[in-house]
């Protein structure tokens, strides 16, 4: 006979404010199989846990139910306590009384009834629980880093320096990411490339890092410690082993009018190109969509001029299979472009540019060699208007969130402009200045106080072009909402930070969650900010949400350390929530019919054919299905699929699920 203990947590007042916790404990005590019930202010606290441990011993409990917050919060805590008390941790289950009861309902009897129902359900589940024992699986001590921006670079270097193998996959021809495009960085105004390029080179030369640029992840299968990843190495059309990076090919390439991604479309590049002079690896690729040879079938100049004979038009995409134990997702972000703003001209005014374009204009390696000139006619603008919150915090445009970095980089932009043109006028339209960060607010104040940037509080309604000027119609809400009209030479929109266009499909390949803006979801917003809900996959950088460089680097290092922890032992234990095919006495052996239709259902190919043989004669007595516990992830799809219930899922067994349903019902809600 089961002896179950029920422990109801008040969670301070979080639960007790709307649920009559004493009543719940009282009712629980009456439930069949319950030997002990109590309520306490903080079950998860040390004294709370001690109470559980003592109760287990004192009342000889065989299983416990904790009515508290979501099992996603403290299941592990309480299972550990149960273990300390001397019972199998899987005989401890959580009744979710906070997230799904007290926080979502008012203080009524119905709410308390719901709490009691949930406790009863879980008591019934526990009474059908069986002890389970963790499964050990080996760990492949190689990490995959997806994305070669500053986040990926930092994570890869940290893991590699700890002595583990790292494979880095970057989709563009060079690593470096958005940071390599920036001019100076706030709040120190040090040159972005100067601090980044040494890191890039280190990645390329690190003995523990294998770098695949111009490559993308095709698929991810397997599970923590044992992921199988397919990587597509896109055809570069250039043999990396022969190419010396001399540059003859791109100097001679006749297709010269392709908008240059690195310069945010402000200049042109050739069809065979290396994105920028400090690229790593600094070897070109052919952009086949824009190459005369591939599009029209004639040209072939690069092949003729290449002194190393490295050009290979026949090259094809190659898919490689790699095995890794953990993954860092550092796929970065995108920004909205000026065509996202109808009221600012649908991107049709050349001198209305976005922040990244301004970075390129201000960068010494940019198309104007660092002179700030407007794109339409190359004139140096006398008046620049910066619009913060362009698209951010704009529900109507579908982006409610703050992009976090714009306040700072707008201040930086205005400052850079003023440093280069003391006589020029810089105006910043803003709603709020969000400059929380070390030395950040001081930086903004410097722009206002020392560099004489005019900050105007108000949003701009419209921009139109007249006689080569951009008429900016704004408002000064600090001046009795006075309408403001500025005839500007150039307008810089601090456009919203958004997820990469392919973020959704990346997330789906990895089976990680993402939010409605397609930013990847962390496992817990506060306590597990670098892990995803899929064990073994970590997040770093702006693919999770808009981030500045210091935050990105911190998160990357955190992700790396999570992985180093994972790699610190040769084996890892997995939860024994796995499917099992039943066994019984001969001549039946198992009720499984051996139809093997479930083999197709399993997403992990964890089910295999098993021949049950006579030990002496070797004669096949029965063919049945068998679950490989090492591969099984415990989804239970096979369990619901099996016609005659021959497979069951440990921890979510048929008996448990059915008794939960029965316990819930048969009485008024």
């Amino acid at each position: 006979m089961a002896r179950i203990g029920v422990f109801i947590c008040h969670c301070g007042e979080n639960i007790s404010a709307t649920v009559d916790v004493a009543k719940v404990a009282e009712e629980a005590a009456k439930m069949p199989g319950v030997a002990y019930a109590m309520d306490y202010k903080y079950m998860c606290s040390d004294p709370g846990q001690t109470k559980i441990i003592e109760a287990i011993k004192e009342h000889k409990l065989t299983g416990i139910v904790v009515g508290a917050c979501s099992p996603r919060m403290h299941e592990a805590t309480f299972r550990k306590a149960a273990e300390k008390g001397g019972i199998n941790p899987f005989l401890c289950e959580i009744a979710n009384l906070r997230e799904q009861v007290s926080w979502v309902h008012p203080r009524t009897e119905a709410t308390t009834r719901k709490a009691i129902d949930i406790v009863r359900t879980i008591v019934n589940k526990v009474s059908k629980d069986t002890p389970l024992f963790p499964i050990k699986v080996p760990v492949t001590k190689t990490a995959l880093v997806i994305g070669g921006g500053i986040a990926g670079i930092q994570a890869a270097l940290d893991i590699a320096n700890a002595g583990h193998q790292v494979i880095m996959v970057e989709k563009s021809p060079s690593i470096g990411g958005h940071m390599s495009q920036l001019s100076e960085t706030f709040p120190t105004l040090d040159c972005s490339q100067c601090i980044l390029t040494p890191r890039m080179v280190e990645v390329a030369q690190h003995p523990n890092i294998t770098l695949h640029t111009f490559a993308e992840v095709e698929s991810v299968s397997g599970f923590v410690g044992n992921f199988d990843v397919k990587v597509r190495l896109k055809a570069r059309s250039v043999d990396m082993s022969k190419c010396t990076g001399c540059g003859t090919c791109w100097q001679k390439c006749p297709s010269k009018k392709i908008p240059d991604e690195f310069n945010a479309g402000l200049s042109y590049r050739t069809a065979i190109y290396s994105p920028f002079p400090q690229a790593v690896p600094n070897k070109p690729v052919i952009d086949r969509a824009n190459c005369n040879y591939f599009q029209k079938g004639k040209c072939g100049i690069c092949k003729k001029v290449c002194p190393a004979g490295a050009i290979d038009y026949e090259m094809e995409d190659e898919i490689i299979d790699i095995k890794v134990g953990a993954i860092v997702t550092a796929t970065g972000f995108d920004i909205k472009h000026t065509d996202f703003f109808p009221e600012y001209g649908y991107g049709e005014f050349k001198d209305v540019i976005d922040g990244l374009q301004f970075e390129r204009l201000a960068s010494a390696s940019g198309p104007t060699s660092g002179e700030i000139r407007r794109p339409s006619d190359g004139k140096i603008p006398e008046k620049i208007v910066f619009l913060a919150c362009s698209g951010s915090r704009d529900k109507a445009k579908g982006i409610e969130y703050c992009s976090k970095i714009c306040c700072m980089y707008t201040a930086k932009h205005a400052m850079l402009y003023k440093h280069k043109h003391h006589e020029g006028n810089a105006y910043v339209f803003y709603m709020d200045i969000r400059s929380a960060g070390k030395n950040y607010d001081e930086f903004v104040r410097r722009a206002i106080e020392e560099d004489d940037v005019h900050y105007i509080r108000g949003r701009v309604s419209r921009i139109y072009e007249k006689d080569g000027k951009l008429i900016v119609k704004g408002v000064d809400t600090l001046m009795n909402a006075e309408p403001v009209e500025i005839e500007a030479d150039m307008v810089v929109l601090a456009t919203a930070v958004v997820a990469n266009p392919d973020a959704e499909s990346v997330a789906q390949k990895m089976h990680i969650s993402y939010d409605k803006h397609h930013f990847f979801a962390e496992a817990h917003p506060k306590l597990r900010p670098v892990e995803t809900n899929t064990a073994g996959i970590m997040l770093a950088g702006a693919c999770q949400t808009a981030k500045d460089i210091p935050d990105t680097v911190s998160q990357a290092s955190a992700a790396a350390s999570k992985i180093m922890g994972l790699f610190s032992s040769d084996e890892m234990t997995r939860e024994p929530v796995v499917a099992v095919v039943n066994r019984c006495m001969p001549p039946l052996f198992t009720t499984c019919t051996g139809c093997l239709l479930c083999l197709e259902v399993c997403p992990y190919h964890a089910i295999e054919r098993e021949e049950i043989k006579d030990r002496r004669t070797g004669e096949i007595l029965k063919v049945a299905a068998k679950v490989n516990a090492g591969l099984c992830q415990g989804c239970g799809t096979c369990v619901a699929f099996c016609r005659n219930k021959s497979i069951d899922l440990q921890g979510f067994s048929n008996q448990q699920m059915l008794s939960e349903v029965v316990a819930l019902l048969n009485k008024p809600f």
């Binding site: 445009k397 709603m431 701009v460 309604s461 000064d476 909402a481």
Partner: protein, 216 residues
């Protein structure tokens, strides 16, 4: 023709004297918590003023921003803050009458606040509480003349409207020079065109005014 016009003027004056009061009931409403201007607005129009975060984009784009005594974003600000005196100030402002309902504000509003509906509501409240700004009397008179005209005729006749409006404002000279040329271009039709079932029209007005009486 002349007789016709005289008849028309005569008729208008008569109507002006025993004016039928369309749906406009003057009354004063006490400001109680839960019955504030804001809560009534949110209830009847469904615009939530707290959505506005005062970026000022509405004012920046408003075609008449310079002429408004209270700027569009400030209208919302006053509704949000609900400080003593704001309500009176709002209802007796000129701005609410200057709003052209061009919807430029709403079409660019990042928080999707339907400001033109707020303005409609405030106008109706202003009339109801008899707080119309003196400078807006002409605009109000025009609106009233317009509605009276269609109540009686079902559709608009510009001569009819103009005369009615001029009688209300006693501004006889304005636009007089335009009339002859419009007339000869065939744009003015002194004989009031009417819909067939004028009675239906009156009934609609009547039912609405009865229903509103019942509501309060």
């Amino acid at each position: 023709m002349i007789i016709c016009s005289i008849q028309l003027i005569f008729f208008c004056i008569k109507r002006q004297l025993n004016r039928f009061n369309i749906e406009i009931v003057h009354e004063s409403i006490e400001t109680k918590p839960g019955n504030s201007l804001k809560s009534r607005l949110e209830e009847s129009v469904g615009v939530i003023v707290s959505h506005c975060y005062q970026c000022g984009k509405c004012t920046a784009g408003c075609p008449l921003n310079e002429d408004m005594d209270i700027k569009p974003n400030q209208v919302l600000r006053m509704l949000q803050a609900e400080l003593p005196g704001y309500e009176d100030k709002l209802l007796s402002s000129l701005s609410i009458w200057l709003c052209l309902a061009c919807d430029t504000c709403y079409s660019r509003c990042p928080q999707e606040v339907k400001l033109s509906q707020v303005m409609d509501f405030l106008r109706q409240e202003s009339v109801r509480q008899n707080k119309v700004n003196p400078k807006a009397k002409d605009i109000l008179s025009f609106h009233k003349a317009f509605l009276e005209t269609i109540e009686k005729n079902g559709k608009l006749n510009e001569v009819w409207l103009t005369l009615n409006y001029k009688l209300k404002t006693l501004n006889m000279i304005q636009d007089v020079q335009k009339a002859p040329s419009m007339f000869f271009k065939g744009k003015l039709n002194p004989i009031p065109s009417r819909i067939q079932h004028v009675k239906e029209m009156e009934k609609i007005f009547q039912r609405i005014s009865e229903n509103e009486g019942g509501d309060k």
